[in-house]
Symmetry: D2
Subunit: 312 residues, 4 copies
């Protein structure tokens, strides 16, 4: 799909999550239809069914969870394609209803991951506060407005706090400053996003046989073509113990000759692999390409071999 202002998007909700913040970074998304989904699977199903054009879901290190769920949900079922990735700074605020003072905070609502990351601040500043779990940081904020008073403060994103008119008592209360989470926009197979020179290709590759060297054989398809990997993860297939697939991010676009060649090599040894998309890197980092893996080198080799086959 072409990302345009007329698009409609699902995202891991509710409104005000970091995932919605990631979606709002997509050009045109602010004025598009945006549909919160309760799970990553539901968001992807909305894409598969055609009820939306694409879905924004967390893919790495999310404080909102859903990472394994995302990898596994893309790996099976009707084919999907990653269209772009977004990096979102993760900063937490302590938000209250207007009028509540820090001293009055007794119970704090938030998601478990956010709670874990803000424990040090809480221990130092609202020592006796109890934890009240919510299904997301955004849900905690909404609960302050709509809820039954189960808690009197929320740890949430600045986005949702501002949107709901909550009072922010403290900002940047997470342990990790400069934390960044990665999200991906997922659509249906269609024309590929254009090659930018700083791209990433995501693949799911079943391990053809389980023996020492089988993984090497897979990785050699990348290394032999000078294609760097920025992420690799083995995942049990769930069928029985000992069977794995690999989820990897490779530097480059499938329209780069070296990446195309690596993918063909992978298809030969593991024909069940799944191409999940080539798309621009959010960090715009350009990979170093050696001469012998450049498009020119591939073109020259093709021409040379063509001459031989024609008897020249």
């Amino acid at each position: 799909m072409r990302v345009s202002t007329s698009s409609s998007y699902a995202y891991l909700g509710p409104e005000g999550t970091f995932t919605e913040a990631a979606l709002l970074q997509v050009p045109g998304a602010e004025s598009a239809r945006r549909v919160p989904a309760s799970t990553v699977g539901a968001a992807l199903d909305a894409v598969r069914s055609g009820s939306v054009d694409a879905a924004m879901v967390p893919i790495e290190n999310s404080v909102e969870g859903g990472v394994s769920a995302t990898l596994d949900a893309i790996a099976v079922g009707a084919p999907l394609r990653i269209l772009r990735e977004e990096l979102v700074p993760i900063t937490f605020v302590l938000a209250v209803r207007p009028g509540t003072a820090l001293e009055a905070v007794r119970r704090i609502g938030t998601h478990g991951h956010a709670w874990a990351q803000c424990r040090n601040w809480v221990d130092a500043n609202v020592r006796d506060a109890e934890y009240f779990p919510t299904s997301s940081t955004a849900a905690a904020a909404y609960g302050l407005v709509d809820g039954d008073g189960s808690y009197d403060a929320a740890i949430c994103s600045p986005l949702v706090a501002g949107r709901l008119g909550l009072t922010v008592l403290a900002t940047d209360i997470g342990d990790v400053t400069d934390a960044v989470t990665r999200f991906v926009l997922v659509g249906r197979p269609d024309a590929l996003p254009p090659r930018t020179g700083a791209d990433k290709t995501t693949l799911v590759i079943p391990l053809p046989e389980d023996h020492p060297g089988a993984l090497m054989q897979i990785l050699d398809q990348f290394a032999a073509r000078g294609v760097n990997l920025s992420r690799i993860e083995s995942r049990p297939t769930g069928q029985f113990l000992g069977d794995y697939f690999f989820s990897v991010d490779a530097d480059g676009h499938v329209e780069d000759a070296r990446v195309a060649d690596a993918l063909k090599g992978l298809h030969r040894i593991s024909p069940g692999l799944r191409f999940l998309g080539s798309y621009a890197r959010a960090d715009r980092r350009t990979p170093a390409v050696e001469r012998h893996t450049s498009d020119d080198a591939f073109g020259a080799a093709d021409a040379w071999l063509g001459d031989i086959l024609e008897g020249r």
Copy 2:
């Protein structure tokens, strides 16, 4: 540490979690002191400080989360060692206070992961039920007994339902039958668990340089010695984008010559690697060892080279 009846253990709590179920599988743990911890980090800190002998924490696919947390928490800080692993079947039940009928269930408390895995059953059987998030499945069960009536049923483990005298309205309500989750018992460095012939070695290996082939060089240390990997995961170091370490499980025990040799090779190319333990595999699977990677082959090669160095 030697696991004995006099030991004391921390575990990711509260009481009644699948993690406690994993701990109870350890011989002698039933009669030992067992201390619930609110996070994986807290459980491991209790080991580091010496207040307990070991801690049971989830390491893979847990419905109780904590997986990345476990990997990252072991990877840094004072050295820890994995002493054994446990596989626990993950089965969910729908539990209520005695006297509650299925028709009366309006809100269901549980952890988000468990909710996701039981949605199909809920949609088919208690269609209109709302979700009430709790910090763990066990917390949901406790909330039924102690709580303020925010929800009237819990999705939890059979262990905690039985322990609290709750009524089980339905069993095996998760989507995935035969789901199994892996837990590890973590202690302080001490004499290694004995080699059993069906062992696993866990390592954390920083990527020495980020270029195509650097990962291959690491994996070749295993492949060249016929050592299979059953898990690999790249993890960002958190320091800055683009820096990675690898968390891997390798077949075999560090007292196997092929594993020892692979570890020495890894140390040479990535001296910052961390040995997290050699321990018996929970599934008792014995790896196929080729003649040329057997202890005998290593012994014969050492003897042969010794002769050469002495001029024979």
Copy 3:
């Protein structure tokens, strides 16, 4: 060139060498024009200049030498192509002028390599015989007929002994029974010999850089495509010490997809490589081809990637 009855051939002479015997194994060569050349270089130059269609020269283990000369002479200069290979059994006879008895043999003429291989027989049967060097085994036989009586017996091939009407006093006098030497027929670039399923491809590959791993990178182009090597030899380039090229024979024909792909990979890392021909193996051995390196696997991978690039 198409090998036909109207062809003309050069060969490492003089008449009656094992090389001529190899040439006579080529269909139609018996009735073709056959031109002896004094050196391998002269035979190949006759091809390059167009004065003959092809030349038969020794390529491996020859008792007539010329092996390094052949490899080096093909590696440089105007391009040549190996069209076929021939295996010739190497059996030596002791030949004399009619009427000479074994007891009368005082001096034996032959090529140094043949002398070395027949020393045991000579020591046991004509103990006091002296060695008289000749430039080839055939030259020794001719010398008996034309010569000045410098020696009274020749160690030579059965072919030349029979052709000159010499008396054979003993057969199979070499140390190595079943010795076989390999020869190649060399022509100018033209349509490739047809793929037979039991083929060989010969290449000259300059080492792009001299460091550990550079040779591995070259050989990986073959191994990664399941292409076996039946010969490898490093040769100094002669320009300065430490610079090498590799001369290799690979199993398969350049029209096999796996070989074509390996050659393209080689061209990318060492663009100066030289293709010396794909031709039927003299021993007719068919290589085992794994599914993932078959033409079918290459075709399926191409089709799969084509779909991706077109957005399907």
Copy 4:
């Protein structure tokens, strides 16, 4: 053996060969007993039987042949060790008996390899001269003094021309200026030559199985330890077609940790390998050793693993 002034040496004779020139480069050889042998095999047998301490034989590119013979002869039979290598500049002179003018030269005696290398000079300067083969260049020179007048000039080394008092009509008449040939001094197994930092290790390695990847597995033992190869040659075992061994020269001394480790790896996969010696390189080139393959890195890895095995 320790090379000393009291040593006795065999060499590929007769007196005055380039091989004797190589031997005379060995400190103390000039005053030692020097025994010419008629073949490489005979020279090596003299070492095996103990009748001499060591033998100098050609190993690469020799104009006097014997290269394959040397490789094969060292590869089998009672173990031998290469003790040092010598590089000898190969320069040819045209020598005659005193009083013979260039115009009077009708026939030229020399070894076939030397004849091939001087053909251009001969064609330009003594155009009508015929070739008279001799068993070595030195034999050609001796033949001028002792012979029956079969030829009136010899192409030989400056050494033998000077020693026999022949008149040199032209020097440096070979095509290749700066040609260098390599020779090795071979003894019986004894204390290793000392490590100099610029050493070479020669090995004979049977191919354990004939499949794509078997050669890679062998070479990976070197590459994985950063050990460069300066020569590799596959040689048929002679038993039947398709069985090979490899003759290689590796940079470094067996007392270098990286070389020792590579040799142990080779022994595990091909226990029939033969160690032919570690000795100083004639060209004194020091290999670049990366940190991770240094003795220090090996020592640090051993210490690190030792700690783990002892429970630290």
